[in-house]
Symmetry: C2
Subunit: 181 residues, 2 copies
């Protein structure tokens, strides 16, 4: 191969990102990229304008705060409950065909016997409206289905798929002979 031949590009990569429109919280970009076959293509990408420079995750995390601390703080503010961390996901993507938005999901246990949790009091911000709905974990999917029938609501895909994961593990043990952790 002589030096005058064009260099082959093997790894897919972004060539440029052009701003199409920017609101206060959301912007729309035109992404030009080279695909794994070497073809130049375009995509439209949504980004939040509010992502902080110190973190890779979008959401309600204050500067310097961990996802776990943010989740406990928001739970307390929006539901009044004091919780304990039971698990946290890595940084995950929410709708990668549409946006670069990411989140960490935090699993929290609430001890109903704790004094603070007997009469929980919300501390909602201006313009925040949160109705707390308590559902039994052992009937979670059924109770969500009941709510969907009764009320004009949408449930988040992550809530529903968590319920399906529990049912999968519980009712199909032969497909998970020894679940390992």
């Amino acid at each position: 191969m002589s030096n005058s031949e064009p260099k082959l590009i093997t790894a897919p990569h972004v060539v440029k990102e052009e701003l199409m429109a920017a609101g206060t919280w959301v912007k729309l970009e035109k992404t030009t990229y080279v695909d794994p076959a070497g073809n130049t293509r375009t995509w439209e990408t949504v980004k939040r304008t509010t992502r902080q420079t110190t973190t890779e995750v979008d959401g309600l995390i204050d500067e310097g705060e961990t996802a776990e601390a943010a989740a406990l703080r928001e739970l307390k503010e929006e539901t009044g409950y004091k919780g304990e961390i039971a698990g946290v996901t890595p940084v995950t993507c929410l709708d990668p065909g549409l946006s670069n938005c990411t989140t960490q999901i935090v699993l929290i246990n609430i001890n109903g016997d704790e004094v603070e949790n007997i009469h929980p009091t919300q501390q909602l911000g201006e313009g925040e409206f949160v109705e707390v709905v308590l559902l039994p974990l052992d009937e979670f999917q059924m109770k969500v289905d009941d709510l969907l029938k009764k009320e004009k609501i949408l449930v988040d895909a992550k809530v529903y798929i968590f319920a399906m994961g529990m049912v999968q593990a519980f009712f199909k043990p032969r497909e998970l002979p020894v679940l390992k952790q």
Copy 2:
């Protein structure tokens, strides 16, 4: 209350949606709404331009097709595997603080003993690049964590939360004394 008094608006509702920018696949709108306290506020909402009029769900569903049929078709095209429906979510939202985008998640079993599944062949479209990764369900969360350490990838929140749901049901049976279906 006399007829001349302004009528109280009690239910929150959208007043208007103004187009800020439209690409080929994605548009950005400014939403003006009245909140449950009666205050007029604005939000920025992302929508796909491609949602079909016959469905409430975004995604890869062809006109008149069910979510289940679309999932089996896409699975076959993108992985080569022939599957059987194990479950399907209702229409759920993906990132409701950002967009109106919705999806149905379909759980599919693949019978590895079927002739068609012994040498699966992908039928990828122009510009589609799909690498199939098979992970054991009984170590799903661990194997995803391993992949995240080794490769520069992001995992979808719904995949990870499904793994967490299985672990929750399997390892914390005391918190789910009798899971009901």
